[in-house]
Amino acid sequence: MESRLKRIFFTAALAAFPLLFLLPDIFSGCCAFAAETARAFGPAPILSPGDYPKVTGVNPRMFIWMAAQMHLWFAAFVLAVPIFVLLLEIAGVIKKDKRYDKVAYEFLRVSLTAYSITAITGGLLLLGLIVFYPDLMKYLSGIFGPTMLLYALFFFVESAALYLYYYGWKPMSAGNLKWAHIGVGLILNASGTTLMFIANAWVTFMMTPAGVDIAGVFDGNIWHAVRNHLWGPMNLHRFIANIAYGGSIVAAYAAYRFLGAKGSDEKAHYDWMGYTANLVAIGALLPLPFAGYWLTAEIYAYSQQMGITLMGGLFAWLFIIQAVLIGALFLAANYYLWCGFKRGVNGERYYKYVKYIAFVIAATFLVWFTPHTLILTPEEASSLGGQYHPLLGPLGLMPAKNIAVNIMLLFTFLSFLLYRRAHRTPTVKWARIGTAIEAALFTAAIANIIWLGVYYGYFTNSVYKVASSVPQVATTLFVIVACLVIEYFMHRKAEVSELKWGSVPDRSQYALFLIAVSFTWLMGLMGFVRSAIRQHWHVYSVMRDNSPDAFTPSIAYAAKTVSIGTIIFMAIIAFIFWLSHIGQESGAGDE
């Protein structure tokens, strides 16, 4: 124990040491810059269409859109993978199980090429912005200059850490060096996350500017501009969403390798990898609605108009599309779990519940994507008596959707509980009573969620309607935590049989592909919203966008663009995975 503590301190010190030196310089540098440049900052420039350079044959906005979206997809992947890798490596050391270490190394190798592509797309984005929007960049760098230099510095640190982490894996695999290696992994994650936080400041400033007055004159304090309304929520949302996304891409990789695996050992290995990565992805998916809620709440706090345009106006339909995608994600996640029952020796006894859970998931999905306002011609509208369906109209409102999503979450969790029980048989005497208690918890929770949604949603006012979503979500969370606790105690000294990894049908892997593709497409769509919510502004309410492309595109246009982007991204990812595969096969790798 003592020597382990020693290692922990050794590693932490190694990681913290360089940062300790750098931090004071960084902060005083920023403050010095801020103080020194209490020089006059000018207002945001007022541009005309002629101020935007043109390049023949290139649509400026499309160029930036594609570069930015590619960069975000790859960046999410390369930020997420080191998190898993580090946690798996630590798990391997603590449990003294070499399998964790091996799979961590495999994940890391897969992400190396993605790292260069992240940098390439970032460079494309930056160059594109300089070429096509020079005045905007001049204005932003006038405010954020020091942070941009910081970005470059941390990029250097991250690259060094990544290469040391990867190439040092074998040499630094024993004793104290292993802990030093883990320290390097920590630095890799810390610098990568910092990079994201810095870039988040720039993009959130464009949406909810702070530290500038109405004319765009900067007050000189970078912290004001950085800590705008959306910075915190964006940091949290992207951090969690990256984990979910990275997990889904790794799971898709494992799914593909599973399909092509020869021999039951290989199949088992990739089945396990896919399941674990998917568990991370879906697990990280669960808190995302909260992060999204905070994000939207801050948008509303900054500007009611912006908030309403987002949720009630122009982009409302976009969130119906989002609902369709999230519903698909949950359907796929549940399907994957049900297929997984086969891995457990007792799995077959839970098959009979699948149809009921499937029915509930499908029903909640249908509720979730029922729209409120219908697409009607004037004649249809007058014969229907309005824009809403008399019976199904209420299902289009938020209360119904809150009920639906909470129930969807609960039943997905139920699938997960049954999956766990597929290979565990409790031996405690109170097992059946424990199950009865869990069943009662589910019943009470569902009743509470429905009551909260129906009463406060339809019979009170909008303040209560919104407020009722908090206890609804708390109910769902409580059930998840309480059931996990009960299950833990119930299965102490339980008969646990080994899971038969690899014994799932091939079609289960397609659920993982569905999840990866849906996540990618959804990210693209939400990226569009984030940018489009600014409408005809470069920096909302401060610097007007007067380029020829300032118009907000229609959702159809955005959907087509996102689809093209998704296809390109998936093609590159497939290429990267193929590269890492042939590298491994020819013996250049070290499996």
């Binding site: 059946r432 009573i433 009662a440 009470a444 929770a445 909260l452 006012n461 206890p471």
Partner: protein, 37 residues
């Protein structure tokens, strides 16, 4: 039989718990539990 009894008792207990939780969470948002026009 024991299981059904356990179910019903637990149902009542969790129902009460959720009620208290709802009241607390509404109050925490500056609202009273029961809507009054």
């Amino acid at each position: 039989m024991k299981n059904i009894a356990a179910y019903i008792i637990a149902l009542a207990a969790f129902g009460a718990f959720f009620l208290v939780m709802d009241v607390f969470l509404f109050n925490a948002q500056g609202l009273s539990f029961l809507y009054r026009g």
